[in-house]
Symmetry: C2
Subunit: 294 residues, 2 copies
């Protein structure tokens, strides 16, 4: 019996669907479907049954799930202990960061760390939702928040200011013709959604972006204005500030790690590197580098 099938079954049991498990494990749903069928065939019994639109566990499946839960705890326990004590500056390192930051301001920082420490395999995980450090989905998370999860270790390195940006052409036309600017709708995170709603009033949108990078592109296209972090708005030559940053938009930039990993040499090496690099760009993050011409 392949023990790894238990890990896969556990994902199906927890999500209640094949597509949910596929998403959680980062593989194709067809892979999950096939492996589950084969696993059940090997065992000679059904573990899951289709009921009212979701998969429910058979009695046998309940039993196997309990076992799999215990196995996961065992695995997470030693995995955490191993990684936490690892004094080697070698091996994999999973870093979770927001898509907008990872592909822009942070990428040069990742690259310089990679050049300095090529034996450490960097795995950048971009997601606009928090990845779970306790579940070892990542070793380090770089987060924008004013209230980080308390059980994680880390500090607020800089404050990230945000302002309202529009393209230069769009704003020039707006100044010539007057009138109210058009707001781009955002669905990237509750924070941006809330502030966009408050600032734009009851204006309705006909264009929505669920990622800040998309918002940036939409602004460049002249679709309107929107809230952007200054490190993005102030570094794009086609954009300019519609108005100055409002402290109400401020968020903290945190480099967080799980307590289990506080002695892992490569995690600490990466953290220290990022802290230093971020501090060197403190002005940019805090909105003190507006573009010339504003």
């Amino acid at each position: 019996m392949n023990w790894d099938d238990l890990r896969l079954f556990l994902a199906v049991a927890r999500t209640g669907s094949i597509s949910g498990a596929a998403k959680q494990l980062g593989v194709q749903h067809s892979t999950i479907s096939r492996r589950m069928r084969q696993f059940e065939k090997n065992l000679g019994t059904r573990l899951i049954e289709r009921k009212s639109g979701r998969y429910e566990l058979t009695p046998a499946g309940e039993n196997v799930k309990e076992v799999s839960d215990r196995i996961e705890r065992e695995v997470l326990g030693f995995d955490g202990a191993l990684a936490g004590e690892d004094a080697q500056l070698v091996g994999p390192l999973k870093v979770a960061a927001l898509n907008n930051m990872a592909s822009s301001v942070f990428m040069p920082m990742f690259a310089s760390f990679n050049r300095k420490r090529p034996q450490i395999e960097l795995h950048i995980i971009v997601a606009n939702m928090d990845v779970s450090l306790p579940q070892r989905e990542a070793d380090i998370a770089i987060r924008l928040t004013n209230s980080p999860t308390e059980s994680l270790i880390g500090k607020r390195i800089v404050t990230v200011a945000s302002g309202i940006y529009g393209s230069r052409d769009y704003l020039r036309l707006l100044r010539e013709k007057g009138g109210r600017p058009k707001w781009i709708g955002v669905e990237c995170c509750g924070f941006h959604v809330t502030w966009t709603k408050r600032t734009s009033g009851s204006q309705s949108h006909n264009f929505y972006c669920d990622d800040t990078l998309l918002t940036l592109s939409a602004i460049r296209e002249g679709l309107g204005i929107s809230i952007l972090p200054c490190f993005m708005g102030d570094t794009d030559p086609l954009l300019e500030r519609y108005c100055a940053p409002d402290p109400a938009y401020n968020l903290g930039l945190w480099v967080l790690l799980h307590p289990d990993l506080k002695r892992s040499a490569r995690v600490l090496a990466f953290r220290d590197h990022m802290v230093q690099e971020i501090k060197e760009k403190k002005d940019l993050f805090e909105g003190l580098r507006p573009q010339a011409g504003h």
Copy 2:
């Protein structure tokens, strides 16, 4: 992390070598070697180290072995429970039998079971050493022994008589010329080794066989005489008995299963089938069918 790597690591930890683990798991040693290296790389730490001709565990490896032991217990626990309650006459069934019996007298019996129950996937495991039923290396074992493992369930179905056989030509020449016969050396099992030594006296051998099928072939070639079970000697037209079976050579033929599986429908179906088939050939096993012409 692939949980199945833990199962593989456990085999290496227990056998102290890559080739040992490969043999235990039934895969190529190169597969073990590669997967272990990759597993260690993924973990970022060494689990095994080469010391005086064997692999020993690092401290981290000791920790992971304990976890893997516990996981194995979990897996064997539910696997046993699942299989034991399985009322389906479908799925895999692993049968362990000696090579000489599996390929001769039992094969027609396996075949008839397979024709009767094609939904049951028969896996015949031949080995001249006991495979472990508690470790689920097999579901059923057919064994020749006078003292089966007490914790297993099963009974002695027939007695297997053995006699000393030689080829017809060899024995005819021996009778014409007189003299003492030459004994073929055996290394197949302690039982045969002991009785060969006692019966042949201090005669030394220059030809050894470590499998009864090999012994049969050597006898056919006229290399000498040797002890063979009657079901083998009495069914080969080129062989005849050098002397009658000696009850001292008798062994019991047992069909054994693990207590966990005493309610598994397909295990019981196979057991019942074999018991019936073996009883139908009781005379042959007990040496009551000598060849005509003896």
